[in-house]
Amino acid sequence: MAEKYIARSSAIAARLVGDEMMVMSAADSTFFILNEVASAIWQAADGCTPLSEIVAGKICQEFDVDREQAQRGADRFVDELSQHGILRVSDQPIINSSASPESR
């Protein structure tokens, strides 16, 4: 199966509120709240790290979840956010990914 690379879109507004991330699409004003696990994936979406590596190296270790289960959840999350233009997805590394909002 091809690797999946994810990058945050720049056409969004986002801010960490406590342990959750508020995200709003500038295109259609759709509003999302990402829980702690989804926020961690979001923050790691640098366009260069494969999703499988984010799941194995970050999600499974930080949240003590089964890898297969975490991968399925991550795939669903990525699909949903990419449909709203909030995440960009490619089978190649995404070079011009957005500026990092992760620490904010």
């Binding site: 969004i12 507004a13 801010r15 960490l16 509120v17 709240i33 500026a99 904010r104």
Partner: protein
């Protein structure tokens, strides 16, 4: 509870400033009759200072950023400021009169991902709108700007401030908004000038017209529900606070002064001398605002409207006491429900009216209610 309400509650619990209104200039190309600002430049923040403030706001947790003025496009660095704000991933709303927005400006706002543009329109008739703005041709240019913005797919809202001089044009502005395919919002609030001058309050619409607004299904939806008598307040109401000012929102002037709200001129610090987060967390003024609950309001806590009133603590502050009533909101509650506020009953007993309110129609309309008491 909506997702947004949920996040507001979370921000409140965490003490985060979710929304900031930043005026980047008080300079303006219009001279609106009702404007509360002094349009001279007394030393606006530089681009670098504003970028620094934006960076601090992002770190502090601000999500919603309103950029306003004055007229924002009077600053040559306006787009640089918006670009920085968007790079910091704020949800950006711009308030403007639109006069300086042409195709290029509209395209740039779209490209930068501005979420919403709010544009002031006072009438659908140039002779009325331009007389209020004191800028000939301003309505024509503003409408052109709305078309440019719409053609870019941007979300535009027409803000219609209602005054004695344009009240009869309210329906015309609403129709215009419909024709242009943009949202419409109206505001009957006229506030004193920032220097304390209250002369512009004479522009407020009288109570009888306020009543028409509140009883218009087109404007408020379900009139019966909107104008229903207030329910008896429970303990949760008495422990509540009036609005987000100082709790999850604040205002920053072009000179770096921080206030609880644009309509609440209580100086609480200055970002040129202190870090924003220091002011937000430790300003005695903001802490005092946050400490006030409905039960602490000497007059309003005894009022039937305490749970439903739109009481603005900033307007109350401008009347002399942030714990006191805001007479403009007493008037609104009365015109909405027909039930006089506790504050109004105080005036009646004292035989005098509050200083900031036009009571001619109020006295006539409410005499029956008062006689029954």
């Amino acid at each position: 509870m909506s997702l947004l309400a949920e996040m507001n509650q979370k921000a409140l619990n965490l003490g985060l400033p979710l929304s900031v209104h930043l005026d980047i200039t008080y300079r303006c190309n219009e001279r609106c009759a009702h404007c509360y600002l002094d349009h001279d430049d007394h030393g606006e923040m530089t681009t670098a200072e504003i970028v620094d403030v934006l960076t601090q706001l992002a770190s502090a947790g601000v999500f919603f950023l309103s950029l306003s003025g004055g007229e924002v496009l009077m600053r040559r660095d306006f787009f640089e400021i918006v670009e920085q704000a968007r790079q910091l991933l704020f949800n950006v709303k711009v308030k403007t009169n639109g006069v300086m927005i042409r195709e290029n400006e509209a395209a740039r706002l779209r490209q930068l991902g501005v979420e919403q543009i709010q544009i002031s329109v006072y009438s659908h008739r140039p002779e009325v709108h331009d007389a209020i703005t004191k800028l000939p041709g301003s309505l024509k240019r503003t409408i052109q700007a709305i078309r440019f913005l719409k053609s870019q797919g941007l979300k535009v809202t027409i803000a219609n401030v209602l005054m004695a001089g344009n009240f009869s044009d309210q329906a015309g502005v609403m129709t215009l908004a419909g024709k242009l395919g943009v949202a419409y919002t109206l505001d009957p609030t006229i506030t004193p000038r920032m220097d304390g001058d209250t002369s512009i309050l004479s522009l407020r619409i009288p109570g009888s017209e306020l009543k028409q607004v509140f009883h218009s299904q087109e404007l408020v939806g379900n009139v019966e529900e909107f104008c229903a008598p207030p329910p008896a307040p429970g303990e949760d109401i008495m422990e509540g606070f009036p609005c987000s000012a100082g709790h999850t929102a604040c205002y920053i002037s072009p000179y770096g002064d921080v206030f609880p709200c644009v309509q609440f001129p209580l100086p609480s610090g200055n970002v040129r001398r202190q870090k924003f987060l220091d002011i937000w967390r430790h300003s005695p003024q903001l802490q005092e605002v946050r400490s006030i609950r409905a039960r602490d309001l000497p007059t309003c806590s005894t009022c039937a409207h305490v749970g439903t009133c739109t009481r603005c603590p900033g307007l109350a502050y401008m009347e002399g006491n942030m714990r006191g009533p805001s007479t403009a909101d007493c008037e609104k509650s009365f015109q909405r429900t027909g039930i006089p506020s506790a504050n109004m009953l105080t005036w009646t007993r004292a035989g005098s009216a509050g200083p900031l309110i036009q009571i001619q129609s109020l006295a006539l309309a409410s005499s029956a209610a008062f006689e029954g008491r």
